[in-house]
Amino acid sequence: MSENNGSNRFPSPFNVPTPEGCEGWQDLYPYYYVFSDDRREFEDNRFWFQDAMHHPEPLYPFDTITCESWWVALGEMNTRVFIVPPALGIDHRVLNGYLYISALPVANPDDIPGRVAHFMERAGYYYRHWDELYAQWQAKAEEAINELKSVRVPDLPEMEPIETVTEGRGLTSAYDMIVAYNRAIENMHKMWHLHFEFLNLGYAAYLTFYGFCKQAFPGISDQTIAKLVSGIDVILFRPDEELKRLAQKAVDLGVADVFKQTVNPTQVVETMSASEAGGQWLQELEKSKDPWFYFSTGTGFYHLPRSWVDDMTVPTVAIRGYVEKIQEGKSIARPMEAVQQERDRLAREYEALLQTDEDKNAFREQLGLARTVFPYVENHNFYVEHWHHTVFWNKMREFGQVLVKHGFFNEVDDMFYLHRYEVQSALYDLIGAWGSGGEARGPKYWPSRIAKRKEIFANLKKWSPPPGLGEPPEVVTEPFTIMLWGITTESIQNWLKPAGNGEGAKLLTGFAGSPGTAQGPARVITSVEELALVEPGEILVCPITTPSWAPVFTRIQAVVTDIGGMMSHAAIVCREYGVPAVVGTGFGTKSFKTGQMLRVDGNAGTVQVVE
């Protein structure tokens, strides 16, 4: 935890010691991505906070590609494209393997009026043409995914096929290897540019409405504001809808009992294959998979945890839950009409509470814009982090496979202990040797280095990063910082409080993620594989809930997470399921033990051990 002595400062990044056994960790990351004496003055005068929401764990060297992508893409949209008046982008540094970020303000306030004019022109254009641009975006995103899928990772044959000669191709598998890798990497950068094409403006519009509501209706809950704006037909819920469909199919085909025998995905498939009806069900399963099972059980930012399509544990457990509900005669359909009516009622009644025509008009204007932008805010995640990244990580594994075959790696996932530039070098090493007929250095060079890196990485994982570095600013204007990370007076003050790691705590406080209260035995899980253990009526305590975990919510009473904020990607889904949730408790998985009786108050944001 932070070396706090009651001051308003977090430790300087230059005073944080390297954890034992992590010496040389800097070699895992690019030179520009770590703190250094070269930029000490700049770096020491900033406030950095650990991005525990997206990157709660140390970064795998290869996986920094997601962070590095959003470093550029988020920043440029603020700084170079839309000219957000008071804010530049968000800077990045890695310290002891953990990602720290810092919002950069416009240094000279005199520049702001000029920026306002540009913003009005540029952002104004996007807001006015939002729907058509968004339709165009969906087409662009799908095209990018298809481009990535079409990247073929070549093998390096003993001899090039005869067509190389008969077609006068002139180019070879070595060239194809370079192209394939570069295309895949370019494609990742492209997808992240698209990710932020709308997101900054979307958040800005939402935050504006949010601020108005907080002022007009002091104390109104974050959930209520989200409800006013949320879309009804949200793509993020579609994977879950597919699971419901499959559960219903299983019941209709008379093969639902398979899920009573096992939720081991392999066994489910084996048992199903044994019968004709089961075979039909498997066909239905295949129909749902692309793209709806391209759904990460994590944030999607990392190559782990895997997606549904790679590991069917989560969907299988979820289908069992739905089968149980159907057999109990309960409805599993989303009450779309009721959700729509409730949204309209809320908007009508809040507007009626405003006392001047100007306020009513402002409410309508801002709600209208927030609703226009929100489908993007809600849906982009499926396209980018889930669908695209599932394809991406698996494409990278294909390169890993090639390097395993040629003795560079012991196993495919060793790939992710190399930075993408290093992979490019390794591939060049490989094609150099292939082309020349000589010997690659890689098989002698990489295995020992990877082993060392794995050691360092394991030690970095044990380290607890301080939540902040340097001195907090007085005002944050960068929309993401506020909306996504919930950086407020309270959160910073909480971080500054000297606290332990929460072990053995009886009461934890977090964000009120989803309303309602519940009491039940805890089920503490730290990995996706353990989701299958969850029993009906338990309270799920986990590091982070991601949308793909949500279907399991049908079995549980409440959710407690270590990490999460007001608009964390999962929060939207938590509320949708009507399961009480307290998110961002910091230490839930460390404080509570499986079987302990907990009381969760999703209204107050507290979790208490019931003695």
Partner: protein, 359 residues
């Protein structure tokens, strides 16, 4: 269901029955129709009153006495009033009416699971709500009435309160015929609150109309109204009915009714209840719905006294005891969020420039 022409339960009353049950009871009926729960009870109808006068033939005699009266002569008015009220109290209530009242009272006791249920007996005249005609002196109210014979005695006293000297003089002055005003009597369960307090249909701290603010303590509401305890406070979102804030305080004393002696006593709150919440979530939400119904009925922010009755079951026990329009915020100019109108983009820019203070 009641079939007696002499009794109407509050649940059967509404504005159209004003001639039968008087203004006060009609109003209680209206509240119930608007889903505003009030302590249960019934009206002895004006039909019973007229039967009493006509059946025993004293109506004509009273009319003669009033005709002979010179209102400017105060002493004479007092004398006539005394004579009329003596005549009325000397006249027995017809048995059919007595039976109907006793039967209704017993039924009320049964509904509340209390023998000799303490009730309030109040006059409810047909003309009392007319503009400019408050008919002072008719507001006869007796609290802590227990047992059927006492209810009968108090009913008769309410009837005769139509003929206090002041009421007589008032009607004369207003030119209102005496025989056009009739008296109904309301018999209503006395509050026996397990928890009670005050709530506003706005946040009294900042005037925010999207909230219901509830103050609550153990026992009868007097402890909250008089300020002798620091009550628990709950803040609820009026639109979503979600509980936003709970602030619990130690509640050291409570007011509890002493039925036998017909009075309210102060008692120490046992330690285990002092710091626990005086309301559970279901009660808070039910009070919120009650508050919304009351505000919906009056169309202005309201200041409401409420109680959770011991003798009834949830949710029938959550009830309005008294209410009045809120005056502090309602008399101020309307609060406004924005000073200038604009487009959504203007607001986005303004919001960005403001930022969020973090320390």
């Amino acid at each position: 269901m009641n079939t007696s022409p002499y009794i109407l339960w509050f649940t059967e009353c509404d504005r159209s029955k004003q001639n039968s049950v008087g203004g006060k009871c009609a109003n209680l009926g209206e509240m119930l129709q608007a889903n505003v729960r009030v302590p249960p009870g019934f009206a002895v109808t004006t039909h019973a009153y007229r039967q009493f006068l006509n059946g025993r033939g004293i109506g004509d005699e009273i009319a003669r006495m009033l005709d002979a009266l010179d209102v400017d002569d105060i002493e004479c008015a007092e004398e006539t009033s005394r004579d009329i009220r003596q005549l009325m109290s000397a006249t027995p209530i017809p048995p059919a009416i007595e039976d109907a009242i006793c039967y209704a009272y017993e039924e009320l006791c049964a509904e509340c699971h209390v023998d000799d249920l303490p009730v309030a007996v109040r006059s409810s005249a047909t003309a009392e709500d007319l503009p400019g005609a408050s008919f002072a002196g008719q507001q006869e109210t007796t609290l802590w009435v227990r047992s059927a014979p006492h209810v009968l005695i108090r009913t008769a006293i309410c009837w005769s309160s139509l003929f206090t000297a002041r009421a007589i003089a008032y009607r004369k002055e207003m030119g209102f015929p005496h025989d056009k005003v009739h008296m109904s009597v309301g018999v209503q369960k006395m509050a026996n609150s397990r928890a009670a307090g005050v709530m506003f249909t706005l946040n009294p701290i900042n005037g925010d109309r999207s909230k219901i603010a509830i103050d609550s303590s153990w026992g009868l509401g007097e402890s909250v109204v008089s300020g002798v305890v620091t009550p628990d406070n709950y803040l609820v979102d009026k639109v979503t009915e979600g509980i936003l804030q709970r602030t619990l305080s130690p509640k050291l004393i409570e007011y509890i009714p002493n039925h036998a002696e017909g009075k309210v006593e102060i008692a120490d709150v046992p330690q285990e209840r002092q710091t626990s919440s005086s309301l559970n979530d279901d009660e808070i939400i039910n009070l919120t719905i009650l508050a919304k119904c009351i505000e919906g009925y009056y169309h202005v922010p309201m200041d409401i006294e409420w109680g959770i009755d011991r003798d009834l079951e949830f949710p029938e026990n959550v009830m309005l005891l008294q209410c009045r329009p809120e005056t502090v915020w309602s008399s101020k100019p309307p609060t406004r969020v924005i000073q200038q109108s604009g487009t959504a983009l203007d607001f986005v820019i303004a919001n960005m420039l403001k930022g969020v203070r973090v320390k």
